[in-house]
Symmetry: D2
Subunit: 308 residues, 4 copies
C-alpha cells in the first residue's frame, strides 16, 4: 500500500471541516421520526484492518441502520443456508431502478437482488426461526458481532415503519403470490422492519464495514464472523446493486462497494484495507446522503480507494 | 329496427347447437372451486327491452359473478357519490394491459379504470357504510334489483378468493400508500371478494344487461334502478375497458359493450335493444370464455348488434 | 331523431362566440410551420347526412390534415387489401400510451393500431403502388373523393416533417427489423409525411366525417366511396384508439368516434346523423386542440350525440 | 501475489481439454457470416503484465471483434475528449436489460452506458474526424496499438451488419431526435459497424486486455496507450455494464471486468495481473459464449482472480 494510515485522521478531519456547513438536501418525510432529526448531524469514521478507529464529527450520534442492514441480512442467510438456497429466492442482478422497484426477474419472479426492498424482504423470510421473535434474536446477535458492540433499537421508528410500510407490504403480497415468500407476510415484514430499526453510530458501521474488508474477521474482536467466500459474495452484490439506480455512477466516481440508508448513513468496504462510514441526514432525490456521497468521492480520490 | 325479435330463439338455439360440443379452452386453476366445474356447462340468454326472456342450454346453472360485478359496483358509486367523486379515485382510460395490471395512472396514481382489479377495489372502498357488512348489504340489494331476482352466494369461492387473493392484496397496499385507498385494506378487499362471489344464471345476467340497455329501468320489474346518465357512463367504460387487453379486438369483431368474468360468463349491453349473456367455463389465455366470444361474435353479425 | 337539425347553426354559432376569445394552449414547436400559425384561428363545421353544411368562424382557413389522415389511410388499405391482410400487419388494440409510442404488440411485433404513428406508417407501406409517387396519387384521389373537393398540399410542412421526423424514422427501422415493414423505409415515410401534408378546411373535414357517418357514401357527391363494413371498422378503431391516451376520457365525456391532428383539427363521426369538425391550433399537453375538445364536449351534450 | 504464473499454461490447457467437446449453444443467425462459422473453434489466451503470452487451442483463428470493441471506442473518446464531454452524451448506469435495449436514461435521454449498442453508437459519434473515413483510421490505429499487432477487417461481416442493422438504425434515429446524436446517422452507424468488423485472435484480445490490466501500457510494446485514469473508467464500466443483463451474475460468479461479443469472444481484465480471452462461437440465449463463461468461471476460481 502506497498510502500511510497515519494520514487518515487528518484527511477525515479536513473533509469534516470542508462539508460541516454544507446544507443541501432534504430529510425524508414518509415517517415523522426521520423528518425530525437534526440535519446538521455529521460524522465520519474509518476503521483499519488492524483495528485502528478514526472519527471526525459527532461520532456518538446514533441513527437507525435502515437499508444498511441489507448486506448483513444477506450475510446471515448465506451463512445459515448457503448461497444456492438463497439464490433460489433472490437474484444478484442490478435493476437499473430505485430501491422500491416493483419489478421482479422475468421467468423466476424473484426479486432482482438482496439490496432492493423486495429482495431484503425475501431474505428476511429465509432467516431461520419459528417466528419473528426467533429471527430478530439471530439478526441482533449477528449485527452486534459485526459491530463488536451492543446495539440499541428505535421502537418509535420501527412502529412508524410498520404503520407506513404499505409499499413493502404490496411487494410482500406480490411475492407471496409467486411463491417467493412462504408463510405469513406480516410476520416477515415484522422481521424486516425490526432489522431496519437497530441503532448504530458511524463507528459501529465502520467496524462492520471493516469486518467485511477483513474477509469476515472483526478487526476489533478478532473473531471470524462470516466465512471469506460469503464475504466475497456480499461485497460483490454491494458493488453492483448497493446504490440502486445510482450504482453505475457510484462505481465510476467512488469505486468502493457500499450501502446507503434513508437515515443518512453510508458505509463502504475497501477490501484488504479499511471500513468507512459517514452519517449526514439530508438526502438527494434518490434517497442518498448528499454529504455522504461527497465525502466518499473525495476520500476515494485522496486515498486511491477505488477497486478499479 | 330492421330485425324481428321473433328470430332470437331460433338464433340462440342454433348457436347453442353449433358450439355445444366445442371443447377448447382451460379452466382457471388459481382456486379449486373454479377448476372443478363441469366444462360442458353452456347456456345463452337474451332479454329484450319489453321483458321477453329467451334462453338456450342449461339456463338454471348458477356461477359466481366474478368480474362481471364490476360495472355494477361502479354504478352503485356513481349513484351514491356522483361521477366527480368517483373519477377522483379511479380513471376511465383503457390500459392496454391484463386485468391484474399493477400499472397506475401517471401523476394521480389512480387505477386506470373501474374494470381492472385495482379499479374495482378502489370502487369497493367508495361504497358507503361503516364496515364491509354495511357495504355488502348495499351491493346485494343493488344486484338483486338489477336482476329482478334474489341471488345466492358462494361462500366457498369467497373463502378461496380471500385466501388466494395476494395479487389483489398487493394492489390494495400499493393504493393505500398513494392515498387512493383509505381505511383498512383487508376490509375493503373483503367487500370486493364478497361482491365477486354472488351467484347468477345467464338469465340473471341478461336481465341485468337489459336493465343497462334500457337506460337503467329493469324491463322485468319496470323499476328505474340507475339514472340514465350513469348508465351511459357504465356502458362507455364497459366498451373501452370491459374486455381488458382484448378490448380493441372485441370492439372490432363484436362491437357490444360487455364484461367478462373468470367463471366463464360474459354479458353484453345492446343499448335500446337487449341484454345478452353467455356462460361457458373454459377460458382462453387472456381469461375470457372461448364459447362466449364465439357466440357474441356470431350474434353481433347475425343480428347487426354492433354499436359502430 | 329527437333533435331538429334546424338548431345546428344556432348551436355552433353560440359555441363559436363562447370560445372565440379563449386563448389557453400552446402551438407545437417541432416544426417551424406549425409554430407560426395564428392561434386565433377558430372554425366549426357540421355536415348532415342529407348534405346540409353549417359553419361558424373562419371556415375558409386551410390547415394540414396531419394525423387526421390516418383513418382514411386505414380505409384505403381496407378497401384495397381487405381487413385480414391489414390486420396481419397492424393490430386494433388501444395502447394506453401517446401517439408516438414505441411499444409494439407482444409476440407479433405489430403496431397496436392504425391510429398511432407506427401503425399509420405500416399502413402506408400497404398502400399499393410501385413507389411513393404511385401511392400518393391513390391517397390524394381517395381524400378528395371523401371531401368532394380538390385539396391543396403544403410543401413546406411536408419538407419540415421529413427533415424532423426522426422519431417516425426510428419506428420505421424497428418495424423493418421485425418484418412489419418491407421495402425502403425512407420511401414509406415519404408516403406517410406526404399524406399528412394535404390541406383541408373544417368543411372538408366535416364532409369526410359525414361520409363515414353515412356508411361510406359522400352526402355531397352521393358517391359510395368506402364499403359499409369497412366504414364500421374505421369508426370502431377511431372510437377505441383515435384519441390516443385520451381515448377513455374522450369516450366518457364526448362519446363520438373522432380523430385529432397536431395542426389543431378534430373531426368526429356521429353514425347515421352527421360529421363534425373543429379547427383551433392551440393544443393541450397531449397534443389535442383545446377549443376542439371543449366544443365537442358541449355539442355532444347539447345534441345528445354520444354513441353510448 | 500468492499465485505463480508458471501454473497458467497447465490451467488453460486443462480447461481447453475439459471443454473441447462441449457442444451446447447456438450460433447467431441474424447475419449469414456468423451462422456459418465452425462451432468447434475454441481457444484461450492469457497475457501477463510482463508480456508472457500463453495460449491453448486454435489460437490462430480470427473472428470479428463485435461488441468487444466497445470498451476501446469508449477509451478513444475518453482520451480525445475527456470524461466530462463523454458523460454528457452517454451515462454509466447498468440497464438491467439486454444489449439492444431501446431504453434511454430518464430526463437526459442519454443511452445508459457505452456498453449497450445505443451507447456505443453515441460514442462513435464522438470520435473526432470529418467523416467516417477519418474516424475509422483513428479506431484502427488505437486497436492495433492496444493489440500490438496489425488487425484485419472482415468486409463481408461489415456489409451484412450494415444491411441488417435496422435495430441500431432505429436507436440512432431516436437519439438523433433527442439531440444525443448530431450529424448524419448513416455515417455514424457506418463507423460503428466498421469498428465491430475488425478481426482479432484470442491472443490479440488478451494483449488488449492486458494493456488495460497494466494501467494502459501495452505489456508487449511497452507503450503507454491510454492514461491510467481513463483505464480505471473503462474497467469500471466493463464491470458494471459489460455483460448486459448478465452483469450481476457475472460479477458474482466470475468477478472480472469483462466484455463479450456476438462472435463468441470474451475478454477479461484482471487489474495488476493479466488479460484473458476466450473464443468459442456457440452462444447462450443472452448472446454470450457458453464455453467462454465456463472457462472464465473456473479460471477465476482456480487462480483467485475476482476483484471482490
Amino acid at each position: 500500500m502506497s498510502f500511510s494510515k497515519k494520514r487518515i485522521p487528518k484527511i477525515i478531519q479536513e473533509l469534516y471541516n470542508k462539508y460541516k456547513d454544507h446544507d443541501e438536501g432534504t430529510l425524508p418525510t414518509y415517517i415523522p421520526e426521520l423528518s425530525r432529526v437534526d440535519p446538521k448531524h455529521f460524522s465520519i469514521a474509518v476503521v483499519t484492518l488492524d483495528g485502528d478507529v478514526f472519527t471526525a464529527g459527532e461520532d456518538a450520534q446514533t441513527f437507525t441502520i435502515q437499508s444498511m442492514v441489507k448486506p448483513f441480512l444477506y450475510g446471515i442467510t448465506l451463512e445459515k443456508l448457503g448461497p444456492e438456497a438463497v439464490l433460489e429466492k433472490v437474484g444478484v442482478e442490478p435493476t437499473g431502478d430505485a430501491f422500491n422497484t416493483i419489478k421482479l426477474l422475468p421467468k423466476s419472479n424473484r426479486p432482482y437482488n438482496p439490496m432492493v426492498n423486495a429482495g431484503a424482504i425475501a431474505i428476511s423470510n429465509l432467516i431461520p426461526g419459528n417466528d419473528y421473535h426467533d429471527r430478530i434474536v439471530i439478526v441482533k446477535e449477528a449485527l452486534e458481532q459485526m459491530a463488536a458492540s451492543p446495539l440499541g433499537f428505535d421502537i418509535s421508528v420501527y412502529t412508524s415503519e410498520k404503520t407506513m410500510g404499505h409499499h413493502n407490504r404490496a411487494m410482500a403480497y406480490l411475492m407471496l403470490k409467486f411463491g417467493i415468500l412462504t408463510g405469513n407476510p406480516e410476520e416477515i415484514l415484522e422481521s424486516y422492519f425490526q432489522a431496519c430499526s437497530f441503532l448504530v453510530t458511524v463507528k459501529d458501521l465502520a467496524v462492520m464495514a471493516a469486518t467485511l474488508a477483513n474477509k469476515g474477521t472483526n478487526p476489533i474482536s478478532q473473531t471470524q464472523i462470516i466465512q471469506p467466500k460469503n464475504v466475497k459474495d456480499i461485497i460483490c452484490v454491494m458493488m453492483t446493486c448497493g446504490m440502486y439506480d445510482f450504482a453505475g455512477e457510484w462505481a465510476y466516481t467512488v469505486g468502493i462497494p457500499a450501502k446507503s440508508g434513508v437515515s443518512g448513513g453510508i458505509f463502504g468496504v475497501v477490501p484488504g484495507r479499511m471500513g468507512i462510514a459517514v452519517y449526514s441526514p439530508p438526502l438527494d432525490e434518490s434517497g442518498t446522503s448528499i454529504r455522504g456521497i461527497k465525502v466518499f468521492q473525495e476520500m476515494a480520490q485522496m486515498m486511491d480507494l477505488s477497486i478499479f
